[in-house]
């Protein structure tokens, strides 16, 4: 059975790095893996999505509405943006972190501060963590993505199936290996 994961965040948050680690992990587990990123206009503070699909044999790298088994969201309101892609029974892991977009800053658009309460009320498998805050406390807010990775691995029960710490170490900049491993632990134990 092919599983579909949607990662969503804001340009610059590091969604692509954890997508890379996840797909390397699935490949190491012996799955066929495809991952689809959208570049270009989505940088510069726009909404960014990555899709990962793994299974015995994967054809399409991307998928449509109501087809995601799991959504990993780096930002509160982005979880709402991605919601129509989630299958009934699927899981949302989201950071409780807000990034106000320019239309919100200028007052042209409003921000749903109660997004997560609403999400929790309708999606039974909603997991909310403070990944950004944890990474900031650790000393580098850029490790937010690895905190989320730790939580994802734990939630999905994938810890036994690949050496995730090794994968983290292989994929982050060499100077940041230690802090990222700590970030992984933090997320895993959240």
């Amino acid at each position: 059975m092919t599983k579909s994961i949607l990662l969503i965040g804001v340009g610059g948050q590091g969604t692509i790095l954890i997508s890379r680690i996840l797909s390397a992990g699935f490949a190491r587990m012996g799955y066929d893996v495809k991952m689809s990123e959208i570049h270009g206009m989505s940088q510069r503070g726009g909404s960014v999505t990555t899709m990962i699909r793994y299974g015995d044999e994967v054809s399409s790298p991307n998928f449509g509405e109501a087809e995601a088994d799991i959504i990993i969201s780096f930002e509160k309101s982005e979880a709402i943006r991605a919601l129509p892609q989630l299958k009934k029974g699927g899981t949302v892991i989201t950071d409780d972190y807000e990034i106000l977009s320019v239309p919100v800053l200028t007052g042209a658009s409003s921000y749903p501060h109660d997004a997560l309460e609403q999400l929790r009320a309708v999606v039974p498998n909603t997991i909310i963590i403070e990944a950004f805050k944890a990474a900031e406390k650790l000393g580098n807010s850029r490790c937010q993505n690895i905190v989320l990775l730790g939580k994802f691995v734990k939630t999905m029960g994938l810890d036994e199936k690949a050496d995730w710490k090794e994968l983290v170490a292989e994929n982050v900049p060499p100077r940041t290996v230690d802090i990222n491993l700590k970030a992984y632990e933090l997320g895993y134990n959240m």
Partner: protein
């Protein structure tokens, strides 16, 4: 599976180019094709001469020259880039090659980062050039390598047509080694390569004959395959990424004719396939390119664009709805909606200063836009320009626009803008037209010292090239002057200096005849610039801020308005560019360097 690695289609193409023994590669950046040459530049520059050319036509001609000279050559561009390059491409279609010549057109169904969804498969028959369509990263690598054999065997350039989801999806790839290929000796051969009318008319039948031979070859070539499913009554003809979506949507219900060589299409193969199935579908994104060819073979009952949408990207869910009337499964719904989150100019972006000043004179000018990060300036609150077409048009449209405005007694002046990379790409020729037509317009070069929108590629103004070597700087201001703009009609300003920027626009509006403004300030994302900026940022004194929102008119993502006051929080991305300090009339904003 362990020795396979995850590669994007673009990485795999770059790898394929290297494995094929290519000697010369040239491109102009454009999403989704950019990473191909970036990868060649970082990984393979010791074996391959590679460059960012000034535009796609130049890039293709660099590659064509290498091919004619006997080297294996490669070129890449995004779909609209191919429009710019087609003049030499058509010619090389007639001339053929010496060393193998392969180029990539990366199309963008869904317009993720483009001005249209043009389907470049039509260029196959149009240019009479062989076309291959890989469906995943492994095929990207394999097809590129095989394309060089095809190119040299059939004396033809070969076009590889990919799409965003092929370029930017990663899948597992088995790589190989580089093949050493000798450069073929260049011999003067004007009857093949010097396309004067007499040569060209003689080359045309040669080309038609080669195409016929290629179609014969295509019947059992390695690019096409039939995937039969036992007992299936449905036959699906497909290519490229659509093959993957078709497999997802039809699964075991269908057999597949997967075409990799989509020009020329093998009529015999299609005919044999179609005759076996009661129900037939052509599954393809955007235009009915294959469908029309299948119908031309007499299979008029085949389904295609009668069901499958011609607009936007496909995916399996779209196909299930189109073919089987299957609605998507159930999801969840909340009342809350996500806020608009369009891409915006970064904190510290020099373009912001330009648009801030421009927004104050919109009653005096009619702005034309172009393509680059400054394209974001059309959005609120700047509402910077009302139209943009393609690279270079930000200048050339001014000539006609000023005539149109004059004829409707509209006193406003036409004003256009292009970035530095766009100026080199096709702004120079447009500026020459402005000068020689003596058009009464304002042409602005927004020079941020990099090709920013596509992710920071070098250009002739950057002092460094794709291979990481230092290179001579082509001076934009000297060029502007050489085109015939004198000092009186030229202003060079720092766009983040509001009064200087305002003054330059004012001078331009008052001037007569062609007027050029060059804004000079590097993109804040350039590594050296970011490093030099250090920890500089702005702080807002909450005691002095009265909440007048003047600073908010800069629409900077680093400034938030909370509880009646502006604030710049940590992690906001502020680099202390100083635009907001100039806007604040209460001295509430200062720059700190800690």
């Amino acid at each position: 599976m362990s020795d396979k690695i995850m590669m994007s289609g673009n990485e795999a193409i770059a790898r394929g180019v290297w494995e094929a023994g290519v000697h010369v590669a040239a491109a102009y950046p454009g999403t989704p094709s950019t990473e191909i040459l970036e990868n060649i530049g970082t990984l393979f520059k010791d074996d391959i001469y590679c460059e960012w050319s000034v535009n796609e036509k130049v890039a293709f001609e660099v590659a064509a020259g290498a091919s004619i000279g006997g080297a294996r050559a490669f070129c890449a561009f995004k779909h609209v880039g191919m429009n710019v390059a087609t003049d030499p491409i058509f010619s090389m279609g007639y001339a053929g090659v010496n060393g193998g010549l392969v180029f990539v057109t990366a199309d963008d169904p869904g317009c993720w980062s483009s001005q249209n969804e043009q389907d470049n498969r039509w260029y196959g028959p149009h240019t009479k050039i062989a076309m291959l369509e890989p469906s995943d990263s492994q095929e990207c690598l394999d097809f590129v390598k095989a394309a060089y054999e095809l190119s040299e065997r059939f004396d033809t350039p070969v076009m590889i047509r990919v799409t965003t989801r092929v370029c930017h999806s990663k899948s597992l790839v088995q790589t190989g080694d580089r093949k050493d290929v000798d450069v073929i000796k260049y011999e003067r051969n004007p009857s093949k390569f010097a396309l004067l009318p007499a040569t060209a008319i003689a080359r045309h039948p040669v080309r038609e004959k080669l195409l016929a031979e290629m179609e014969e070859y295509s019947y059992d070539c390695p690019f096409n395959r039939v995937e039969e499913t036992e007992g299936a009554a449905i036959g699906v003809i497909t290519s490229g990424i659509s093959y993957q979506h078709a497999r997802e949507a039809f699964g075991k219900k269908a057999s597949y004719l997967k075409l990799g060589l989509t020009y020329p299409v093998c009529g015999k193969l299609v005919r044999e396939f179609c005759e076996k199935y009661d129900t037939l579908y052509v599954i393809e994104e955007n235009d009915p390119y294959l469908e029309l060819q299948v119908k031309a073979l007499g299979f008029t009952g085949i389904h295609g664009k009668d069901l499958v949408p011609a607009c936007n990207e496909l995916n399996a869910a779209v196909l299930r709805r189109a073919i089987f009337n299957e609605e998507p499964g159930e999801s969840y719904h909340v009342e809350a909606t996500a806020p608009a989150r369009p891409p915006t100019m970064c904190a510290g972006c020099p373009h912001r200063g330009f648009f801030l000043s421009l927004s104050k004179v919109l009653d005096k000018v009619v702005p034309a836009g172009d393509i680059g990060c400054y394209g974001l300036g059309t959005q609120a609150p700047f509402n910077g320009f009302g139209f943009s077409l393609c690279m270079g048009a930000g200048f050339s449209t001014l000539v006609g626009l000023s005539q149109a405005l004059k004829r409707q007694s509209d006193p406003r002046k036409a004003l256009g803008m292009v970035g530095d990379s766009t100026f080199f790409h096709s702004g120079i020729t447009s500026l020459i037209d402005i000068v020689s037509s003596e058009s009464n317009v304002i042409a602005c070069v927004l020079d941020n010292s990099i090709t920013a929108m596509t992710g920071h590629q070098e250009n002739p103004g950057t002092a460094r090239n794709l291979m990481g070597q230092s290179s001579p700087v082509v001076d934009i201001i000297a060029l502007v002057k050489a085109c015939g703009i004198d000092e009186d009609h030229l202003r060079v300003v720092d766009p983040l200096d509001i009064s200087a920027m305002d003054a330059a626009l004012r001078d331009g509006i008052e001037a007569n005849g062609p007027f050029v403004i060059v804004t000079k300030r590097p993109c804040v994302l350039i590594k050296e610039v970011a490093r030099a900026n250090g920890k500089r940022h702005a702080v807002i004194d909450p005691e002095k801020c009265i909440g007048c929102r003047m600073c908010m008119s800069a629409a900077c993502p680093a400034i938030a308005f909370k509880d009646g006051r502006s604030m710049i929080s940590e992690g906001s991305g502020c680099i202390g560019c100083g635009l907001c300090t100039q806007l604040c009339r209460f001295g509430a904003i200062s720059i700190v360097e800690e």
